[in-house]
């Protein structure tokens, strides 16, 4: 939907920005045309967020130029950005939960006469905006707290439209959405671009960029490595090289065949959790990776948490190595040799302010201790061993976990269960928040763990990941196992077919 190949809405030239000695941006260029979806790609820490914040008036650049509709501008604060016509949709949506949709949309520029709100007019305009975005079915007076994350994004976009916005910056909007909602988001983005509005779309999910993007700019270590590439003409391998600076084989490691006589380490029988799932039975052999594929809300995370004892099963049994576990006891599961890497690493997995080594030994410090007295030297040595084995960076066991990248934080959790000597490992979204370069590394580690005889269960919202990583796949829909199959016998569309049929029935 590009109106004019030569029209330029926004041009950023050589922007730099330093914070307390850290050079976040070292020279970024970006050219955005009206009506295009311009993807900005980069690993975590590449400077994407800082770039957004200089465009939305949160940070002032140290050097460089911002040209908006042919004129050099200084964006002094967020209000100045909005006045120019630049709106930003952050990951943590800045909508006010207690207000209605209409109140949110006109927040800061209320429709009023002499201090009296013209509520009717605001509601009418809101209805118009929502229908322009294809969501006329949501009442304008709905309180925002009642809305899903996806619909809150719609509100955020409607607000941008209400202000005669010409450019909307979206910071990883798909991170909080499931695949159905992402499809809807893309439809709305196309509505926006059809009306001449440009979208800067920040993401590190390559497959999305292929679907929605017109052109791509890539940032690495605060510097532009590519600007304005055509999406259609750029290969994935090239993009990964531009992002990471190295060649990454973006493929899953080859599966090693599971020996038919390998012992069954995890045996789940007729597991049932009221209100979430029922009749889940499967086994995992030593060295096998079993994936649970399904949409958000299908019950896949609940199944994992119930196996682990973090939720108490209504009925059914979980056995490890032939021994049945007490229901609803994480401590019992851990003692029996089970490990779990949760979906929300930061809030469920790590002590962010504690050093790496204490995070690694969080499940095992008691084993190092003698008579209740800690043995920190032993803990640190064990952690160092895993840091070396997993190539965890930085390799200093005393660094707080908070300072590590998503991929390295994931490695802390893997290290924790390696020290523990886990027989059965449950992984929920093992590559969430992990950038493309580090993903292949995590995949390889998981495969290596399996090869060493661990039984692994993987859950991921990226179906491709489940299929690529697993030996066998359970397709989950609405809390039921729809089918169990070899991962090589099914593809992404096959899984989606099953899931959609299952939910329609």
């Amino acid at each position: 939907m590009i109106n004019d190949d030569h029209a330029v809405l926004l041009e950023v030239r050589g922007i730099t920005k330093a914070f307390a000695g850290v050079q976040a941006l070292k020279g970024v260029d970006l050219t955005v045309r009206p009506g295009e979806v311009h993807c900005v790609l980069g690993q975590n820490g590449a400077g994407k967020s800082t770039l957004i914040k200089t465009l939305s008036g949160v940070h002032a650049p140290d050097d460089g130029e911002i040209v908006w509709q042919g004129q050099t501008v200084t964006i002094a604060d967020p209000v100045a950005a909005l006045d120019l016509g630049i709106a930003t949709m952050y990951q943590e949506l800045d909508v006010v939960d207690g207000l209605t949709i209409a109140e949110n949309i006109f927040l800061g520029h209320e429709r009023s006469t002499g201090g009296m709100l013209r509520v009717g007019e605001a509601n009418r305009l809101t209805r118009e905006l929502l229908s322009r975005l294809g969501h006329g079915n949501i009442p304008a007076t709905t309180e925002v707290s009642q809305l899903s994350a996806a619909n809150k994004q719609i509100v955020s976009m409607a607000r941008a439209l209400s202000r005669d916005t010409k450019l909307i910056i979206m910071d990883e909007p798909s991170a909080v959405l499931d695949s159905g909602e992402v499809a809807n988001l893309f439809r709305v983005i196309r509505e926006l671009t059809a009306q001449g509005i440009a979208v800067v779309y920040i993401s590190h999910r390559l497959e999305e960029i292929r679907q929605i993007g017109d052109r791509i700019s890539v940032i690495k270590d605060g510097r532009s490595t590519a600007s304005g590439l055509s999406v259609a003409d750029t290969s994935t391998a090239d993009l990964i090289r531009l992002m990471t600076g190295r060649d990454v084989a973006n493929v899953f490691p080859p599966a090693t065949p599971v020996a038919p006589n390998a012992p069954v380490l995890l045996d789940v029988q007729d597991l049932h959790l009221r209100g979430a799932f029922s009749d889940v039975s499967f086994t995992v052999r030593a060295g096998e990776i079993v994936g649970l594929a399904g949409l958000v809300g299908s019950g896949r995370t609940e199944i994992l948490e119930t196996i682990y004892g973090a939720r108490k099963a209504t009925s059914g049994t979980v056995s490890i190595d032939g021994r049945t576990l007490a229901a609803g006891s994480v401590a019992a599961a851990v003692r029996a040799g089970m490990g779990f890497s949760p979906e929300e690493r930061k809030s469920q997995g790590l002590l962010l302010d504690e050093p790496i080594f204490k995070n690694v030994t969080l499940s095992t410090f008691g084993r190092f201790a003698r008579g209740g007295v800690l043995n920190e030297r032993g803990e640190r040595d064990a952690a160092k061993e895993q840091i070396a084995a997993l190539e965890l960076r930085p390799d200093d066991p005393d660094r707080p976990a908070r300072t590590l990248s998503g991929g390295n934080q994931q490695k802390i959790l893997l290290a924790r269960w390696l020290v523990h000597g886990t027989k059965v490992l449950l992984l929920d979204e093992p590559t969430r928040g992990v950038d493309v370069g580090a993903r292949a590394e995590i995949y390889a580690l998981i495969r290596r763990l399996a090869a060493a005889g661990t039984a692994i269960v993987v859950v991921s919202s990226e179906i491709e990941e489940v299929l690529g990583l697993s030996d066998r796949v359970l397709v989950i829909g609405d809390g039921e196992v729809l089918t169990t199959t070899n991962a090589s016998d099914i593809d992404e569309s096959g899984v989606l077919d099953l899931v959609l049929k299952g939910s329609a029935a």
Partner: protein, 348 residues
């Protein structure tokens, strides 16, 4: 590894070369030494003010012992409170549980039985009352899923009322000679009360920093969900922590019985606030996940010294309250400054 220019903060001369990592200076200053250094400086400033304004009345070994002796009861309670706050909780009942324990341990019947058998009976009774109250707090919080603030607020009110009921609001004089002789004695020229405080502080430091109990406490305060998913029995440990706080209230009751030679339901009134203030001023994070016994001891000493300086100068207690309030605010402001600057270099 050889070049880490990103952390080139102005370091003390020579300090950067001696260590392999140039961030050592920041680590130390952002860590426990840096935080405690501020408290030590505050204490030194108070001593200077005291010496200048009150002269020899202040700068006297006996006066210093008085300061510490007065700090010791609240000090013991604050050690227990440090564990509670480090775990992300709060215990508002410590003062009234101490009052209740002092009343029960000084009941005529208990004292009579103690005279028949041993003065230790009074000690055991006080500890048992404290432990029981702490156990109830812990069970209600951990297994009843009641927030600690409300559960211990209920205990604050309930224990105080129970103490009034049992004592009939009368002061019960301690007349067990053996008990008083032991508790009020000096050992190596230092009052037994101070020895008890020192012993509890050292034991608390060891428990928090060197044992699995301490590690669990810090882990739960840092992230209870992550701790649970790592296999730590969070609920059971929370019960132990409130039990520990109850026991320190029991110990404080014994000390109070000795110091005042009486048990009464008003013992320990508002001690919970003094203890929380000392713990937080000392550098323990109110949201949990980081605790320091050394800081707590320094915090207690700062408040106790402040009181003494004011008393020596015959100043109004109201002025003293204002000064206390100021110290709390300044300490917390400084703590936040340190927390943000030293976040990357934090190491306990």
């Amino acid at each position: 590894m050889s070049e880490q220019t990103t952390t080139s903060e102005p370091a003390l001369a020579g300090a950067s070369q001696q260590a392999e990592r140039p961030s050592t200076f920041r680590r130390v200053m952002g860590g426990s030494v840096g935080r405690n250094l501020g408290l030590v400086i505050a204490l030194v400033v108070l001593f200077i003010i005291g010496t200048v304004t009150a002269g020899d009345r202040f700068a006297d070994v006996n006066n210093f012992l008085t300061i510490i002796r007065y700090a010791s009861v609240i000090g013991v309670i604050s050690i227990g409170m440090t564990f509670v706050i480090t775990s992300g909780g709060i215990d508002l009942s410590v003062g009234s549980v101490m009052g209740l324990a002092s009343v029960v341990a000084s009941l005529a019947a208990v004292q009579a039985a103690a005279t028949q058998s041993s003065w230790l009976l009074m000690v055991v009774v006080a500890l048992a009352v404290g432990a029981a109250a702490g156990l109830i707090n812990g069970i209600i919080i951990a297994y009843g899923n009641v927030v600690a603030f409300m559960a211990t607020l209920a205990m604050l009110v309930g224990a105080r009322g129970l103490a009034e009921l049992i004592s009939g609001r009368r002061t019960q004089i301690v007349n067990n000679r053996d008990f008083l002789e032991v508790i009020r004695a000096d050992f190596l020229g230092v009052p037994v009360l101070i020895w008890i405080f020192a012993a509890v502080a050292v034991a608390g430091w060891f428990l928090l920093n060197r044992t699995t109990f301490g590690r669990r406490t810090v882990a739960i305060g840092g992230n209870a969900e992550a701790s649970r998913l790592a296999g730590i029995k969070v609920k059971r440990h929370l019960v132990y922590i409130y039990l520990l706080a109850g026991v320190t209230s029991g110990i404080a009751a014994i000390m109070m019985l000795g110091r005042t030679t009486a048990g009464t339901s008003t013992h320990g009134t508002l001690y919970e606030l003094d203890a929380i203030a000392a713990v937080v001023v000392g550098g323990t994070l109110l949201i949990g996940g980081r605790g320091t016994i050394v800081g707590t001891v320094l915090g207690v000493l700062i408040f106790s010294t402040l009181t003494n300086v004011f008393t020596q100068n015959n100043l109004d207690t109201s002025v003293q309250q204002v000064a206390k309030g100021l110290i709390i605010v300044i300490a917390v402001l400084l703590q936040q400054r340190f927390a943000t600057r030293g976040a990357a270099a934090r190491k306990r």
